[in-house]
C-alpha cells in the first residue's frame, strides 16, 4: 500500500465512479433534498460522515468475524443492522453533546439509516478487498462525490426553478432531465484516473 494507490481510489470514488451520477445509488435523497443549496450541503455532509463511520465499523466486523468463519454471505443483513444501529447511536450522541451540529445535520440522519449509497460503500470496501486505510479512503471519496453531485445539482435546480418550462415537464421531470445531462457530463471522467495516475 502506498500513497498513490490511495489517491487513485479517492479520485475514482469522487469522479469516475461517482455514486450518484455514474452508479445511480442514493437517488432518493439526491432528488428529494436538492431543492435548496443549504439543505443539499447538510445532507451531503451527513452522508459523508455516516459513510466514514459505517465503513470504520463494518470493515473490522467483516474481516475479523464474518470472513474467518465462512459467514461472508451474511454481510448484507449484518451490515444493514450495524449501519442502522450506528446512525441511531450517532443521532442520540449528537443530540446530547453537540446540539448545534444536531440542528444542522441531525434532521438528515434518520433519512440515512437505510440509504443504499452508504450500504453500497461498505459492501464495495469488502468486495474490492481493500485494506482498512483503502476502505476509509474509498468511503471518504464516495461521500465527497455524493456531496459534490448534491451541490452541483442543487445549484442547477435553484436556477431552473425560475425558468418557465412547458407545464408537462415542470418539477420532477425537469429535474430528471437535468440530472441525466449532468450524469452524461460526469461520464467524461471515465478513463481519467487510468490515464493520469495509472
Amino acid at each position: 500500500m502506498d500513497f498513490s494507490s490511495l489517491i487513485i481510489i479517492m479520485m475514482s470514488a469522487v469522479l469516475v465512479n461517482n455514486f450518484v451520477l455514474i452508479q445511480f445509488l442514493g437517488i432518493c435523497p439526491f432528488l428529494g433534498v436538492s431543492k435548496k443549496l443549504d439543505s443539499a450541503i447538510g445532507m451531503g455532509l451527513a452522508v459523508l460522515f455516516v459513510m466514514m463511520i459505517a465503513s470504520a465499523a463494518t470493515w473490522p466486523i467483516y474481516a475479523l468475524l464474518l470472513a474467518p468463519n465462512g459467514l461472508g454471505y451474511l454481510q448484507t443483513i449484518v451490515f444493514i443492522v450495524i449501519i442502522a444501529a450506528l446512525v441511531q447511536l450517532v443521532e442520540i450522541t449528537m443530540k446530547r453533546f453537540m446540539p448545534a451540529l444536531y440542528k444542522n445535520l441531525g434532521i438528515f440522519l434518520p433519512l440515512m439509516t437505510t440509504n443504499c449509497a452508504v450500504f453500497a460503500a461498505t459492501l464495495l470496501n469488502v468486495s474490492a478487498q481493500y485494506n482498512y486505510a483503502e476502505a476509509m479512503t474509498n468511503a471518504f471519496g464516495a461521500g465527497a462525490g455524493f456531496l459534490l453531485a448534491m451541490v452541483i445539482f442543487a445549484g442547477i435546480r435553484e436556477h431552473t426553478e425560475n425558468a418557465d418550462p412547458p407545464a408537462c415537464i415542470k418539477g420532477l421531470p425537469l429535474a430528471l432531465f437535468s440530472v441525466a445531462i449532468l450524469a452524461m457530463a460526469f461520464m467524461g471522467f471515465g478513463g481519467v484516473v487510468e490515464n493520469l495516475f495509472g
Binding site: 443483513i77 444501529a85 447511536l89 442520540i92 450522541t93 446540539p99 418557465d164
Partner: protein, 268 residues
C-alpha cells in the same frame, strides 16, 4: 450442516442483540430533558411556521422563549394579542400588548392610471418582469401586477384588481410574507390604527411622475403645508406621514391633488 446454520443464526442474533443493547443504554444515558413548557407554547402558537417572529418556525420560537432569556412573548403577529397572553401565562410573565399590523400595497397605479411603456410577453411573474426593464408600466417603483405577493400569501388576503395588488385587511394575518415577495418593495406592514397613508413610492420629480401615472405623488408639498399637526414631510420627492404625530383628522387625504394620499380603514 446443523452447526453452520446454528452458528450463522447465533452470530447474527448476537450482533443484533449487542446493537439493541447499545442503543437502549445510549438512549437512557444520554436522554435530553425537554422542557415541557416548549411543547405547551408550541401548541398555543398558530403552527403555520411563517417565520414572522424571526425564528425558524413555531418550534424555533417556542424553544427560544424558554431557552433564550429576554425573548419577548409578543413576537407572533398571526397569533396576535391572544397568543401573546397565552404564552405569558405559560411562562409566568405579563405580555405587552401588540397592535395588529396589516400589509399595505403602497401603489395606486392600476392599468387605467398607469401609462404603458411596452408590451411584456415574458414569464408572468413580478420577479421576472422586474428583471426585464421593470415590466409593462412606465413607473419603475409601482406594482408590477403579476401577483407574486398573491402566491406568497398563506391566507388569500391579496387579490389582483385591474393589474394592481390589493390587500383585504380583515383577512391579513400580519405574517409579512408578501413584503418579502414583492421585488419592488412596495408592500409594508402598517399599524391598523393609521388614518391616512401615501400610496406611492415614486421618487422621481413631479413632472415626470405626472406623465407616467394618474395617482403618483408629485411632491407639491400641499399636504405638508396644510397638515394641522405638522406630521407630513416631503423627502426625495415623496410625502411621508409621521404616524406618531398624526391626529387622524384625514385632511391630507381630502386635499391631495393626485389622490395619492388615501384614507385607510384597516381595523377589523
Amino acid at each position: 450442516m446443523d452447526n453452520i446454520i446454528l452458528f450463522a443464526v447465533t452470530s447474527v442474533t448476537v450482533i443484533g442483540a449487542v446493537c439493541a443493547a447499545m442503543l437502549c443504554i445510549a438512549s437512557k444515558a444520554m436522554a435530553v430533558k425537554v422542557d415541557e413548557r416548549i411543547a405547551k407554547i408550541e401548541a398555543a402558537l398558530p403552527g403555520s411556521n411563517c417565520g414572522a417572529c424571526g425564528f425558524p418556525g413555531c418550534g424555533g420560537y417556542a424553544d427560544a422563549l424558554v431557552n433564550l432569556p429576554g425573548t419577548k412573548p409578543n413576537l407572533c403577529p398571526p397569533g396576535g394579542a391572544a397568543v401573546a397572553e397565552q404564552i405569558g401565562e405559560i411562562m409566568g410573565t405579563k405580555a405587552e400588548a401588540l397592535e395588529r399590523t396589516v400589509a399595505v400595497v403602497r401603489c395606486l397605479g392600476d392599468r387605467d392610471a398607469l401609462q404603458k411603456k411596452m408590451d411584456y410577453t415574458g414569464i408572468p411573474t413580478c420577479y421576472a418582469a422586474k428583471e426585464m426593464f421593470s415590466g409593462e408600466g412606465a413607473c419603475a417603483f409601482g406594482c408590477l401586477g403579476y401577483g407574486d405577493c398573491l402566491l406568497a400569501c398563506p391566507n388569500e388576503a391579496i387579490h389582483l384588481h385591474n393589474g394592481l395588488a390589493r390587500v383585504i385587511p380583515s383577512l391579513c394575518i400580519s405574517c409579512g410574507l408578501c413584503v418579502k415577495a414583492c421585488p419592488n418593495h412596495i408592500i409594508s406592514m402598517e399599524k391598523e390604527s393609521i388614518a391616512t397613508e401615501v400610496l406611492c413610492n415614486n421618487i422621481e420629480k413631479g413632472a415626470v411622475v405626472r406623465k407616467k401615472c394618474g395617482f403618483g405623488c408629485i411632491a407639491c408639498r400641499k399636504c405638508a403645508k396644510e397638515c394641522p399637526a405638522d406630521a407630513i414631510a416631503v423627502e426625495d420627492n415623496l410625502a411621508v406621514i409621521d404616524h406618531d404625530k398624526c391626529t387622524a383628522c384625514g385632511h391630507c387625504a381630502e386635499i391631495c391633488i393626485t389622490h395619492s394620499i388615501q384614507k385607510m380603514a384597516l381595523k377589523q
